[in-house]
Structures are given as structure tokens and as C-alpha cells.
């Protein structure tokens, strides 16, 4: 690829000659993995996986969480080392022992969590650590701008990282690996933090890079993205590579079947219920974090019994603060939250629990809030009810009964009620949490990211459980990530952007594009379902 080669000569100089000479015709095999096996303790993350990555092609690595996608790619980026198997880069067998080795081989990985220095500028982040001298050079802004232009990306090289949106940060991450001479690019769930519009922009960039002769791997579990962007798909299931197919010759149903191992109906139920009284009324709620940054700005909405109100927004738009404030864990700066007619401001979390407001928040690390990882399932069951008996002892017997019930009801895979929660797999951890919250018969259920990282089967168990609560007349606040799911499951969708409500839509008629625009900051006056009913 003369264009690519010229670009590298121009901007990277001689240092990268090695990698440049390895870039050649499209379709040539960039990386070949043969029989890669990697185990973590008794868990076999990758079992005898073969994989081929070609130049000028976008390969989607599809699989449910825990199927071994990231582990496999981490072995290419030098973070893990295979227990057995061989890796060939450009036909030569290599042992990638560190991320530096990977960089030298032209492999660059964009991780889910960005590795950027917040207080430095975009240009500094792109150039630092690329092994070209210690001192900052005066022309670094120009240099960074040129790299960006080369790939049709736009960044402001002088902007500090902490001032950037998630999408801008991601662009910087991509430029960073490109600047280091990467021509094999691996992106781990790159769209998780993006709005639909930003996703489109990212895909354009990826297509352009593919046409330049780069090899691109995109790790994902979203089917529609696979179908849209990739040329080939390799599907992993439980650590094994089950199939590799051409994207043009497959469809969503087939891919799901590969992923799950059996045919799955992809339809989420939305029972029609009649919403009852307003259980939760939020008026002009404004909250700040510890640093005084406004996290929720004049948020008003209401939640009725018997409905699921979805909350959409890119990560960090105030979802966490909304949950925490309603649960009494975060101080209110302005505004009010009324449960029925009662103001909950100034109430302790314990008093709010007693009112019947239940929250299950699944944080990114799953365990940080709501569960004590080293305690067993039964002990975690009594987290909210352990004070109920009058005696100084804990109600362990009742908790054990409850644990057994929840395990049965939500199909939790465990060796028993005495197993520490930390030993459970992610999906089962989430079931324990949600199971406990539902078991106390709440009247308001706040659930944030309840299916984060779950496989398709488990996700449906959770959707069913939420629908059951809705039918019982519980008001469910569902904070979610996947717009497709929310459009099918929720009754209404409220969109947050930078802590502001940009619209509340009827989920039965709203479109993904509409929500995407609102997530990005466009506003509408629509407040579906918020109008006051005369007899209230």
C-alpha cells in the first residue's frame, strides 16, 4: 500500500521501517493464531482457538461476555501469555511478552477503559511514550494534527483530555496507537460508550483504515454492529471458536444461534398494564459531586406504578447520581424527590429502604455496590433485613431460606448458599443482587445496568423478572445501555445528557435515531406521560 507506506515514512521516520515493510497486499494474513489455550485457574478462557486476521479487512470477534474474546486479544497485545499454542505475525512465529513487543509488531489495542493522562493535552497523550525522546517537542501539536488528518479524524491537539467527551477520548486512543505505527488494530467494545451518531463516525474511520490496508479486529457482542461494519465474523462460545463466517452470508438469527448454542427468539415481552398512581415525583432535582461539579441539572420526572421508565444516556450522564440520590446516598443540592406525598430529602438510606424503595445498581465492577463479595450468598441476602430481629444476632436462618428461594427462582448456578459471592460468575452475581431486591417486595425498583455483561439467556430471565414486577404494580426505573432493548422493554424512555433531561419519549413509538440525538444533547419539549391527569 504505497499510500500507507508513504504516510509512515513521512511521519514516523526510519524507526518504523520494519513494520512498514511488513505491510503488503490486502487480503494477506496479518496474524494467525493456532491452538491458543489460556486458563485462569480452573476456568478455561480460551480453548484451542485458531484465528486468522487479514489485512484490508474488518474482523468481528463476536461472543457473549465471558466467552474469551478479550482474553484472546489481550494475548496479542502482550498483556497475557498463552499457556499453549502459537502466534504468527506476518508468517513468523512470535512470542509477545509485553505490550512493547506488540507495539513493535505493529499491533495496537484500544481497551474498553481508556489509558490516557487526563491533565495532558491530546497531542501529549498521542506522542508521549512513543519512544521518541524525553522532551516535549514544539511541533507536537502540528504533528498530532497531521496524524489525525491522515485518517480523516478531527481532534484539537491542544485540548486537555479531561475536557473531552468520551468519543473524543476514543479518537485520541486510536491516534495514539496509529502514531506508534500500528497497522493491526484491535478495538475492545468500542461502541459501548458512544451515541449512535458517534458510532457511525467511528465506523467511517475504521472503514477508511481498512481501505488503507490495516487489519482491524472489533470485539463486540452487538449483532447489528457486526452486520454493519465487519467483513468476516469469528464467533466464540465458552472459550472456543465455534464458527467463522462471511458477514454477507449470515444474519442476526444465525449469529445468535452460534453465540448461544441454540435458536433464540429475540423478542422481549412488553406486557400492557395500566399505570397507577405516581409513586415517585422528582422536581427540579440538581445535585453536585464532591468536587462541586453539577451532575444532575434541574431534572424533573415522575414514575408511576406498573410502568418501566427507561433512562438512556451515554455513560456518565448522571445515571449513577440519579440512583444514589433517590436511594439517599447522595445529597440534594436543589429540588425535591417525593415518594407518594412524602419528601425523602434528609432521610437516611435505611428509612428510604423501609418506605419500599429498592435499588439494585450494577456498577462496572459488578460488586462495588450492593454486595459484599467475600461473604456468602445467604449473608448477602440479609444485607437489608439483618436488623429486623430484636435480638443481637443476625437472622441467618431466614437468610438461608431466602437464598434458597432466590437461587431457585432466578436459576443461579452455585455450589450452594455458602459460596462466597466473589466465586460466582458475573451473571450469577447480578441475579443474586436483583433477586434480593425483588424478594423484599418493593414498590419502587431502581435497577441500573441489570443485564450488563450477561449472556442472552440470563438477560431474558432478568427481563421477565422486571416485567413480573411491573405487572404487580411496581414502578421500575430501568437505567440501561442497550437502546434496542430499552425500546422493546420500557414503556417510556427518559434521555439524560450531561445531567439534563433532554426528552421523555413514548418507547412504543420512539426511534433509536431520535434517542441518539437526545443523548448527544439535542432537546425536545416532549415529556410523554408527564401531563397531569385531572383527577390527581
Amino acid at each position: 500500500m504505497p499510500f500507507f507506506r508513504a504516510a509512515q515514512h513521512l511521519f514516523y521516520g526510519r524507526v518504523f521501517v520494519d513494520t512498514v515493510t511488513n505491510v503488503s497486499a490486502r487480503g494477506e494474513i496479518a496474524i494467525e493464531l493456532r491452538g491458543i489455550t489460556k486458563a485462569f485457574g480452573s476456568v478455561i478462557a480460551n480453548n484451542n482457538i485458531d484465528l486468522i486476521i487479514r489485512r484490508g479487512e474488518i474482523l468481528a470477534l463476536l461472543g457473549e461476555n465471558g466467552s474469551g474474546k478479550t482474553t484472546l486479544m489481550n494475548m496479542l497485545s502482550g498483556i497475557y501469555h498463552p499457556d499453549s499454542g502459537r502466534i504468527y505475525v506476518n508468517g513468523n512465529e512470535v512470542f509477545i511478552r509485553s505490550p512493547q513487543d506488540a507495539t513493535r509488531l505493529g499491533i495496537g489495542m484500544i481497551h474498553q477503559h481508556f489509558k490516557l493522562v487526563d491533565v495532558l493535552t491530546a497531542a501529549d497523550n498521542i506522542i508521549l511514550g512513543a519512544g521518541k525522546g524525553f522532551l516535549l517537542r514544539r511541533n507536537r501539536f502540528e504533528e498530532a494534527r497531521k496524524v489525525a488528518e491522515r485518517y480523516g479524524m478531527y481532534i484539537d491537539p491542544e485540548k486537555k483530555i479531561y475536557e473531552m467527551s468520551v468519543s473524543e477520548k476514543q479518537t485520541v486512543e486510536i491516534l495514539k496507537v496509529l502514531y506508534r505505527g500500528a497497522n493491526i488494530l484491535i478495538l475492545d467494545e468500542p461502541t459501548a460508550v458512544l451515541t449512535p451518531q458517534e458510532t457511525q463516525r467511528l465506523f467511517e474511520i475504521l472503514r477508511r483504515m481498512r481501505d488503507d490496508g490495516c487489519a482491524i479486529v472489533i470485539i463486540t457482542h452487538k449483532l447489528n454492529e457486526v452486520l454493519e461494519i465487519s467483513d468476516r465474523v469469528t464467533i466464540l462460545r465458552r472459550g472456543e471458536s465455534v464458527a467463522t463466517v462471511k458477514t454477507s452470508e449470515t444474519n442476526a438469527a444465525k449469529l445468535t444461534e452460534y453465540m448461544v448454542g441454540r435458536p433464540v427468539t429475540l423478542k422481549i415481552e412488553r406486557p400492557d398494564t395500566k399505570p397507577t398512581e405516581r409513586l415517585l415525583n422528582v422536581y427540579h432535582l440538581t445535585v453536585e459531586d464532591e468536587d462541586g461539579v453539577t451532575r444532575l441539572d434541574d431534572v424533573s420526572f415522575s414514575l408511576r406504578g406498573g410502568e418501566i421508565l427507561g433512562v438512556a444516556g451515554v455513560a456518565g450522564s448522571g445515571q449513577k447520581e440519579l440512583c444514589e440520590t433517590i436511594a439517599g446516598l447522595h445529597p440534594i443540592k436543589k429540588g425535591a424527590i417525593l415518594y407518594k406525598k412524602e419528601n425523602i430529602e434528609g432521610k437516611t438510606p435505611r428509612e428510604i429502604i423501609k418506605l419500599g424503595i429498592s435499588m439494585s445498581f450494577i456498577p462496572e465492577d459488578r460488586l462495588g455496590m450492593g454486595l459484599a463479595a467475600s461473604l456468602d450468598i445467604a449473608d448477602n441476602m440479609m444485607l437489608k433485613s439483618y436488623r429486623d430481629p430484636k435480638s443481637p444476632f443476625t437472622p441467618r436462618k431466614a437468610a438461608e431460606e431466602m437464598a434458597k428461594e432466590v437461587i431457585k427462582k432466578l436459576d443461579i448456578v452455585t455450589s450452594g448458599i455458602n459460596q462466597p459471592v466473589r466465586m460466582l460468575s458475573g451473571g450469577n452475581v447480578q441475579k443474586v443482587l436483583l433477586g434480593r431486591e425483588i424478594h423484599v417486595n418493593p414498590s419502587v425498583l431502581i435497577t441500573a445496568y441489570p443485564v450488563r455483561g450477561l449472556d442472552i439467556g440470563s438477560s431474558y430471565v432478568i427481563y421477565d423478572a422486571l416485567n413480573e414486577q411491573k405487572k404487580r404494580g411496581v414502578g421500575v426505573l430501568y437505567i440501561g445501555e442497550d437502546l434496542d432493548v430499552m425500546l422493546e422493554l420500557c414503556d417510556r424512555i427518559m434521555v439524560l445528557c450531561h445531567g439534563k433531561v433532554t426528552g421523555i419519549l413514548n418507547a412504543r413509538t420512539a426511534t433509536k435515531e431520535q434517542i441518539g440525538l437526545l443523548m448527544a444533547g439535542a432537546t425536545t419539549n416532549e415529556r410523554y406521560g408527564e401531563e397531569v391527569v385531572p383527577n390527581e
Binding site: G41, E93, F95, L375, M382, L383, F393, T394
Partner: protein, 379 residues
């Protein structure tokens, strides 16, 4: 391909995460660690020109050769055990209370005040109870200070508890040289011996402090496992966010648990100061480092009160037995410290292997791997 790209050499070994071990396996692993420590210590002793087998023989025999040695072993073990039980709840909560020494001392100081200056008319039993309460309050207050600052201002508890140890120690010196100086000692700076009614009772020829220690072990086991307080300690220790979410008042839990921790240490100080081990008075050497050794003990015992009994006994034996061996062979008193250090090092080092194992590749397998690679492609 440039030389670094690399790695055409297959690494000789790598580290792999392993299946979580069962309690039994961990026990065996620790046994190995202690064995290695004994061998390593033996080499050290051999270097000093002493037969290690007979040295270790002396250590064990030294603990049990007479009723008197057993008694003095118990005198070493009991304060260590009480100080260890004291730090367990704090450590379970991940509050790094390394101020057990200071809390022990303050318990002793408060109890001494009662013993020395309360009216003579108080009979033995009420006086002992008053001394115990004073000890509990003294130790408790000393532990509440760092807990308060941690909750209020987020100060580092490790530093604060450590510093308070030294303050407590020098409070004794001040009292000894100043207000509490025994006028009968002829100008020699010491604190007077307690009146006999402030002496600890004896049972089976030793202080009844051992009964208190046994009761504390039982109490702590039940407290941590079965009570609401114990549950709160476990949850706060696991995740402060989860505790808040469950509606726990985290600061209250921290303050309460630290008071308990200090109170038990303080009670230990009271028992020590009124017992025969210190000849019934307060001196600078009252704690003698038990508060620090306790940290090692509970760490080796995996914060379990029951296991703590065994570990405290072993450490006590090492202390006592080495003392005998040191005088037998004319060695420095540092030998027992060195042996303790080696054991701690190997046991804590062995913890690495509860989570990881090292997989070696033999030279042969590396060779066969290289030979099997596609010909001519390896540079």
C-alpha cells in the same frame, strides 16, 4: 524482523493463576512454609557453629522441662493472645489498627491509677472490677482517637495508631519520673508495687487472666460470626459503598469496633499490670511489644480467633524456647527475632502460591516446540 520483535525465544517459565485452594490445602502449604523456615533457620544456626537439631531440641524442651517453664510460657502467651484477639475485629473491618501496643499500655495505666490511688477501703473484688473497667476505658479511648479522626477528617489510621503507641509509652515514663514516683524507692525512678488487694487471683498456679483469654476467644468467635455487629464489620471491611447502600452508619461501625478493639487490648493491659508476670506494677516494659507481635499472630492466623490461639502459642514457644536456647548456647537474644522473621517471611511469601503457580517449561519442550515450527520462518 528486528531483533526485539521478538521474542523468538520462548520464555522459560511463566506465572499462572490457579484454582482457589481449599482450607486444607492452604494449611498444608503453610506447614511447608514453616518447615522451610525451620530449615532456613537451621542453616543460619549451623553457620554459628551450633548443631541445629540439638538447638531446636532445646527450644522445645525449654518450654516444657518443668512446671515452672510451662507457667512462664503461659505468662508469655496470654497477653499476646489477648492483644491478638483485640486487633482481629479492627482488621476484619480493614481498619489497620497497629496501635494495639498503645491501647494495651493505656489500659494498664488507667488500671494502675485505680490500684494506686483509690481509697484503701475498697475490698478486693470490687477493686478488681473497677480496675478492669478503667482498663477497658483507657484502651478504648486510645483506640477511639484514631477512629474519630479517620471518620471526621479521613486521616490515615496506620500512622495515627502507630504514633499513639509512643505517646502511651512515654506517658508511663512521665508518670514514673514524676507524679507516680514511688517515694519509698530511695530516689530510684519506679512506680510503687500495687497493694495486695489489687493483685490478680490465681487458679492452678497461674493468673486467672488465662480464663479471661479463653472467654474472649469464645466471645470474639460468636461476635464476628453470629451477631449484627459482626455482620456490619464484615460488610464494612468488604465494601464501604455496600455498607452505606445497606443503610449502615459506617462511621458509627468504625468507632464502635475500634472502641471494642481498644477495650480488649486495655483489658489485657489491666490483667498484665495486676498479674505476677510484671510483679504487680506498672513499668516501661509492661507491653513489651505484644501489640506489635499480635499483628503478626493474627495475620498468620488468617484473622480467625480460634486459629489465633494456636499461633499465639507457637510464637510464645518460639520466644520462650529460644530464650532457653540462647542462654544454653550463649547466643544473642536476637536469635528468636530472626527465627520469627524467617517464619513470617516464608508464610507470607507462601500466600503468593495460594493464588498463583509457576509453570516451568523444560529445555526439551522448548526445543521440540522450535523444531516443530514451520521451517525457515524463524529468524
Amino acid at each position: 524482523m528486528n531483533k526485539a520483535a521478538t521474542g523468538t525465544h520462548m520464555p522459560r517459565f511463566h506465572i499462572v493463576k490457579r484454582v482457589e485452594m481449599t482450607r486444607g490445602e492452604i494449611f498444608i502449604l503453610n506447614l511447608y512454609a514453616v518447615l522451610i523456615a525451620i530449615v532456613a533457620g537451621g542453616i543460619l544456626i549451623a553457620c554459628m557453629g551450633i548443631n541445629p537439631v540439638s538447638f531446636y531440641g532445646t527450644v522445645i524442651v525449654g518450654c516444657f522441662r518443668s512446671a515452672l517453664s510451662v507457667k512462664s510460657l503461659i505468662r508469655i502467651v496470654i497477653p499476646l493472645l489477648i492483644a491478638s484477639i483485640a486487633v482481629i475485629p479492627a482488621f476484619r473491618m480493614k481498619f489497620w489498627n497497629i496501635g494495639g501496643e498503645g491501647q494495651f499500655i493505656m489500659g494498664a495505666v488507667f488500671a494502675s491509677y485505680v490500684a494506686l490511688f483509690f481509697p484503701e477501703g475498697i475490698p478486693h473484688l470490687p477493686l478488681m472490677l473497677l480496675m478492669a473497667i478503667a482498663g477497658i476505658i483507657g484502651g478504648g479511648i486510645w483506640a477511639l482517637i484514631p477512629a474519630f479522626f479517620k471518620c471526621k477528617f479521613g486521616t490515615n489510621e496506620t500512622l495515627l495508631t502507630l504514633m499513639l503507641n509512643y505517646i502511651a509509652l512515654y506517658i508511663i515514663q512521665y508518670l514514673r519520673d514524676g507524679p507516680w514516683r514511688d517515694p519509698a524507692a530511695g530516689g530510684f525512678p519506679k512506680i510503687a508495687k500495687f497493694p495486695e488487694r489489687a493483685w490478680l487471683d490465681q487458679l492452678f498456679g497461674v493468673d486467672i487472666s488465662w480464663i479471661v483469654a479463653v472467654l474472649l476467644v469464645i466471645f470474639m468467635t460468636i461476635y464476628l460470626k453470629r451477631t449484627k455487629h459482626g455482620y456490619e464489620i464484615a460488610v464494612v471491611g468488604d465494601s464501604v459503598n455496600t455498607a452505606r447502600y445497606a443503610g449502615m452508619n459506617v462511621n458509627a461501625v468504625i468507632m464502635r469496633t475500634m472502641f471494642l478493639s481498644g477495650a480488649i487490648a486495655g483489658l489485657g493491659g489491666m490483667l498484665q499490670v495486676s498479674g505476677e508476670a510484671t510483679t504487680h506494677t506498672l513499668s516501661m516494659g509492661i507491653a513489651g511489644g505484644v501489640g506489635f507481635t499480635a499483628i503478626i499472630v493474627v495475620w498468620l492466623a488468617n484473622l480467625s480467633p480460634i486459629t489465633t490461639v494456636a499461633v499465639a502459642t507457637l510464637i510464645g514457644m518460639l520466644d520462650k524456647g529460644c530464650g532457653v536456647a540462647e542462654s544454653t548456647y550463649g547466643l544473642s537474644s536476637a536469635v528468636s527475632d530472626i527465627l520469627q522473621g524467617i517464619i513470617l517471611f516464608t508464610v507470607l511469601g507462601a500466600m503468593f502460591f495460594t493464588n498463583y503457580k509457576i509453570v516451568f517449561r523444560s529445555k526439551q519442550s522448548i526445543k521440540s516446540h522450535t523444531a516443530a515450527a514451520p521451517g525457515g520462518e524463524n529468524k
